[in-house]
Amino acid sequence: MSEPQKTVSAAAMEAEWQEIQAAQQNPARFRPLYERYYEPIFRFVFRRMADSDLSADLCSQVFLKALQRLESYQFRGVPFSAWLFRIASNEVAQHYRQNSQKRTVSVEENTLGDVAEEMDIDGEIWQVEDLVNVLDTLKPAELELIELRFFEQRPFKVIAEILGITESNAKVKTYRILERLKKRLQGQKTK
């Protein structure tokens, strides 16, 4: 599988860091950042909510919290969007905790195929139901890692920033989860 392309150039991050610093001085200067990232954040939330109005509400919360915490934001070599996704991820998790609902996970068949390919079970006969069954056994944090990496094709550096872990830790965790999924999948087949 090729490296996801959702990367941002150093020059763009540099320019963005100036915008952030301006917004840190004056919240009204946050507008261009809001306009740039509203849609990606909305989609991020929507994929976990499957409800437009609810996603819009949560999206507003995400940006409000971003504004409130902007003063303490420090550049760490990853796009600003990663920081926003982190807030969004926390908001989504908090929503599900408060409402005791089942978390929505959006899956496309082709991205599910990526997971299978990464597990090296491409040549074997596998069914979507089998894969979904084993994904369903994962803990929320584990599933989120798979979701970010394979269903949303995000680079490990950004995933690490969203989840608040190191990049190498994100890689190690992902491949351990894949190993576990593979074993469970093979276990299901032999039954």
Binding site: A10, E14, W17, P27, A28, F30, R31, Y34, E35, Y38, E39, F42, R43, F46, R47, A50, S52, A56, C59, S60, F63, L64, L67, Q68, F75, G77, Q101, K102, R103, T104, V105, S106, V107, E108, E109, V128, V132, L135, D136, T137, L143
Partner: protein, 562 residues
């Protein structure tokens, strides 16, 4: 079996326009600002609650604990902790930065200042706040701080914690340096250092003895001076320092006399060498190769005359042994065999080295140039070798004798020079020490800056003896309370800061004049002068400088010891 997650396959996401309909930045900003106000109110309320609780607790303490009726005095520790660490008292008089540029940060550069100081910026030394190396033009902001007025107006503290002991730094000079590009501060890249040559003037005990200074960096986060290294100090040449200075100063006179003395010494050494020349070393004979063509030319007896313009004449060949012939060397130009049949009229000889010559055979219509060496055959060679060995032994003996004679004379000259130099030094030291005022010398402080900020060439000195019970008052009797008292003395290049309070300690250095001042509320200066230790407490009266000082030169005049 019930699922843990709600998997949605190929979920249809809303399009961009539908998402944009939810966007409302103004509403978001309004909500943000609205929430900020209650937060501030809550904070105020919290502070008010704390204040009321604290007041109630204090009231209970005052009522029920005896001895607490008196107001708790402000301690110097609390007072200075509440102040900015670098606390500029008169911003309009602060030392300005000199801004020069490095044309290409990738290449670095050298910056010279009017003061004579210099910065050497290495290549690829700067990075931005995100750790990225940067190129292009970079501004270097630089200023020098030399004396207590500079330290005062720039608000730099001089207290130094040395292993838990309160000490002060007496300075040989200080610099502040930082870099900017497009208005943004830069950092020094890891492993890079700016070399600094800071010209300054220090007080010395002995005109010829370099004092010891060290290098400290001001850590404004830790609020302390941090030891970095030794200051590589050297005296600056007086004439280099002040080309227009008076020529009749004792220092100048000393330098002039020292220069003459050194010239005399050099001359005496040269004369010594010339009076006892090195004997000529014998040249070892060379045996003929046997397989090279040779020419039998006898110049010594005039068989073949030497051209009068020849570099070598017959007398120069007197050292050659009898039977010497000339062998054509392998590196010689090709020899035309017909040359051996020509009756050459005269020759020219040029010495390449004692064992190689350039021989030019001349005829009215022809000329042949060869590279040749004087060689000997058989018995002639053996005889010559014996003669050479004897001559060599005699030569070695002569050289040894000469070396002994020269060395004795040289040692005696050297001792005489050292003696005269010491006498000169002594006479200058005596002359200088008999003069009123401190002895000062220009120096060059050399050190490296590894982080931008304030760097001090200094040495620690003990904190002065302190006293309490001093009442700080203005000449009109008005009390001065809870402000900073600045104290300097004539012997140490530092500034002490104390809390003006009768319960707080005040340090005064004995045996020298002390100058104290406070900055009053209106930005004016009130000064007190102490020409003797103020040991018994009592009132310390400050006179307000009128009219108020407007610039640094007026400030210098107001805070001068004279």
């Amino acid at each position: 079996m019930e699922k843990n997650y709600n998997f949605k396959f190929n979920l249809e996401e809303p399009d961009g326009d539908a998402i944009k309909k939810h966007m409302d930045f103004d509403a978001l900003l309004g909500q943000f600002e609205q929430e900020q106000v209650p937060r501030k109110r809550q904070a105020r309320l919290r502070r008010l609650t704390y204040a009321i609780s604290a007041a109630a607790a204090a009231l209970v303490l005052l009522l029920f604990v005896p001895g607490l009726f008196q107001k708790a005095a402000l301690t110097p520790e609390d007072y200075f902790a509440s102040q900015d660490f670098v606390n500029v008292p008169l911003p309009e008089m602060n030392i300005t930065y000199e801004v020069k540029t490095v044309a290409d940060a990738h290449r670095g550069g050298v910056i010279d200042y009017e003061s004579g100081s210099r910065l050497v910026i290495p290549a690829a030394a700067f990075m931005n706040d995100r750790g990225k190396l940067i190129g292009g033009e970079v501004e270097i902001h630089y200023r020098e701080l030399h004396d207590y007025i500079d330290f005062f107006v720039s608000g730099i503290p001089m207290a130094y914690d040395s292993l838990g002991m309160q000490r002060y730094l007496t300075s040989a000079g200080m610099v502040e340096v930082f870099a900017k590009q497009n208005g943004r501060r830069l950092r020094l890249a890891p492993g890079k250092a700016v070399q600094v040559e800071l010209r300054s003037e220090v007080r010395v005990q002995d005109y010829f003895m370099l004092p010891n200074y060290y290098v400290y960096r001001l850590d404004t986060v830790k609020r302390s001076w941090e030891y970095q290294n030794i200051d590589m100090l050297q005296f600056a040449e007086e004439e280099e320092w002040e080309p227009g200075a008076a020529t009749d100063s004792p220092q100048r006179r000393w330098q002039q006399e020292l220069r003459w003395l050194e010239q005399d010494y050099e001359l005496a050494l040269q004369e010594l060498q010339a009076s006892n020349p090195v004997p000529a070393a014998p040249v070892p004979p060379r045996q003929a190769a046997g397989n090279r063509p040779t020419l039998e030319l006898d110049f010594v007896n005039g068989e073949l005359p030497l051209d009068p313009t020849s570099e070598i004449q017959a007398a120069d060949l007197a050292y050659l042994h009898g039977g010497t012939i000339w062998e054509i060397l392998p590196e010689s130009p090709e020899v035309d065999s017909r040359a051996f049949k020509v009756e050459w009229q005269q020759v020219k000889l040029r010495r390449i080295n004692p064992r190689q010559y350039e021989l030019t055979l001349q005829h009215s219509q022809n000329e042949e140039t060869l590279l040749v060496a004087p060689v000997l055959f058989g018995e002639d060679y053996q005889g010559a070798l014996r003669q050479f060995e004897q001559a060599q032994a005699a030569y070695t003996a002569k050289v040894e004798v000469r070396e002994r004679q020269i060395s004795e004379a040289r040692d005696s000259l050297q001792a005489m020079f050292a003696e005269r130099k010491a006498a000169l030094q002594e006479s200058l030291s005596e002359e200088l020490s008999s003069r009123p005022g401190p002895l000062r010398r220009k120096v060059i402080n050399r050190f490296v800056v590894t982080n931008f900020g304030i760097w001090n060439c200094a040495r620690p000195t003990s904190a002065p003896q302190t006293m309490t019970g001093v009442n700080y008052v203005l000449e009109n009797g008005e009390a001065i309370e809870n402000t900073t008292t600045y104290v300097v003395n004539e012997t140490q290049n530092t500034i002490f800061r104390y809390l003006a309070s009768s319960s707080a300690p005040l340090g005064i250095v004995a045996d020298t004049d002390n100058l104290l001042w406070v900055v009053n509320g209106a930005g004016g200066i009130s000064v007190a002068r102490l020409d003797q230790p103020f040991l018994d407490g009592g009132d310390l009266v400050f006179k307000t400088v009128t009219p108020p000082v407007q610039n640094q030169s007026e400030l210098r005049a107001a805070l001068s010891f004279e």
